[in-house]
Subunit: 350 residues, 2 copies
């Protein structure tokens, strides 16, 4: 399957710097995936000259011109009104819907991208609400954490859907057979947490779902890598993700100010620069770039808006992994299987 040709649609106008990042990012990704084709969606006058600088990429790429670009601060409703049928973002998602591309990657406005993706691609049968899954660095490697902001206040049933979707994504991304799935809570005992989490936990424990459910996990378990997939609703997941970013930023600020505080420390840091390089490398947000929209009828990956070409290439790689490992088919099959178990369960409970 991996040797087949496939096409990725790129929203060239998204992110803080648009084509200046997207085109060199695509050039990096194409080196890694020689059988990949690219369609750029956006302002041809800006895309074409940049593409001329990357002959190898140019040979596998085409451009679809769009008049309208969605701004990073457009509200989703505005973006839908203004960008429908006209914007690069819209057309790049539509390319997935029409089967012209296997996935779309955008560094644009998250709310607008989700609104358009739901509108064009629709959710998969049996999925009530989509989720955004983040790739989270841990002591043991990486984990998938969802939802980080698409569905605020998910109920028990939706949390189970997130578990299924996150499990499918983790198996595509990490190439493991039975990713460990944990439900984020404020304690590991059955009585802890809010009603939705307790009920989701009960269903996951009691039903024999085709899922390696390991129980409740707490906030500190995310960084420890206790689970490959950490499931929560969108409000808590978004706060957790940003809190972790803020904590990392605080610690690196402390470290920098401590090291530059004396000459001896500076010399020491110079000698240990290999170690600091290794630390920086492991914490590099560009290496974990790519929020995957799950539950839709197509692969949509959101790149961080402020990333560089290397980071954008990572997001493209995530999209390629999802395509090559059959994310959508896997989610659709898993959801069907789980829904039939849940249906039998509710029948039996009547």
């Amino acid at each position: 399957m991996k040797t087949q040709d496939f096409t990725i649609a790129l929203d060239a106008m998204g992110g803080d710097r648009g084509p200046e990042i997207v085109i060199p990012g695509a050039a990096l990704a194409v080196q890694r995936h020689p059988n990949m084709k690219i369609i750029f969606f956006g302002d041809e006058a800006r895309i074409a000259p940049l593409l001329d600088q990357h002959p190898k990429l140019k040979s596998v790429a085409s451009i679809r011109h769009s008049e309208i670009a969605i701004a990073m601060d457009d509200k989703p409703s505005q973006a839908l009104r203004r960008g429908r049928n006209k914007s690069g973002m819209w057309h790049s998602i539509e390319a997935v819907h029409k089967g012209e591309a296997a996935a779309v990657v955008s560094a644009g406005n998250t709310g607008a991208l989700m609104a358009m993706s739901r509108f064009i691609l629709r959710t998969l049968p049996g999925i009530e609400r989509p989720a955004i899954a983040a790739i989270w660095p841990t002591i043991l490697g990486e984990s998938v954490v969802l939802d980080v902001g698409a569905t605020v206040g998910a109920d028990a049933r939706q949390l189970i859907e997130f578990a299924i979707m996150g499990e499918a994504m983790a198996s595509c991304l990490f190439k493991i057979d039975e990713p460990r799935v944990g439900l984020l809570n404020i304690g590991v005992e059955e009585v802890k947490g809010n009603e939705e989490v307790r009920e989701a936990g009960r269903l996951l424990r009691e039903l024999s779902l085709p899922l390696n459910y390991i129980g409740f996990v707490e906030g500190d378990d995310i960084g420890k890598g206790t689970a490959d997939v950490v499931v929560t609703e969108g409000f808590t997941g978004n706060v957790a993700l940003k809190t972790a970013e803020g904590t990392a930023k605080m610690i690196t600020t402390f470290l920098r100010s401590a090291i530059t505080s004396s000459l001896l420390s500076k010399i020491g840091a110079f000698l240990a620069q290999g170690a600091f390089g290794a630390l920086k490398d492991r914490m590099d947000p560009r290496k974990h770039n790519g929020g995957v929209f799950l539950g839709l009828n197509g692969v949509v990956v959101k790149s961080h808006g402020g990333t560089d070409a290397f980071g954008f290439a990572t997001a493209i790689n995530v999209a390629v992994d999802m395509v090559n490992n059959g994310l959508i088919v896997k989610i659709a099959a898993d959801v069907e299987a789980v829904n039939s178990i849940l249906a039998q369960h509710s029948k039996a409970a009547e």
Copy 2:
């Protein structure tokens, strides 16, 4: 006021090591607060020999013997049943209720301590639900974050109560006049977040409460120190707190393994040990130890169960700050003022 004598009740049996930490911790705190008296509650046979090792502390301390000690894994209901009128934890809280002590500090079981505190002390008039406030290190210093686990799923009204209580605590702890109060959300626009947070934000914006409300803040603002007080409901707050702990742990693990990976790095780290010491010092959890139970008719401070004598002394210092700066009186007055504004507002809205 600070020169007056005051008494602190200590639950000597709480925490992973009980009196072995609590007594030397109290000895450190007494050095800093010479006008403080201490009552230890717990097993006299274990407390007395340890107290003999600290003559200065012994001269201002007394012991109240209790047969029963609450275990760290007792459920709150079990603890209440087993420890009522019999345990050191119960008696230490009761000492505050009776006015024998100005505050109680315990490193014991959080759930049991909250259950007993609510039972004995009751909530302040006008306060629906208590909160636990954590002291959070930030780039700029420290902030107060609440609730970190007492009240799961707080509504808009309760979030406003948390804002008032957190503001009172921050002014007692940081000695600042108008602490900046932020409401934790997943974006800064008015439409973001769940219903409770949006409604609390609307009330805080529209009513002229005696509160320096700065609007919505996001997870990464906590570590940045954007607000002196960060308000959220107990589920999200607990996840955020533990996620930050997990992230800090992950980064220090990465840093340690990077530094020990080569001889040159080790030499560099040796030369820069002053810098690493400074970093360790700023991140030291013992310096930010002390979760304050807010909304009760008395000062209750929870120490981390795994801390050492230095950390336990920090928790005592937090209790002393709350007592000396009149936390309870301030909260009671603020709540009354805010409730009268809220009542006028609902009347006007009818």
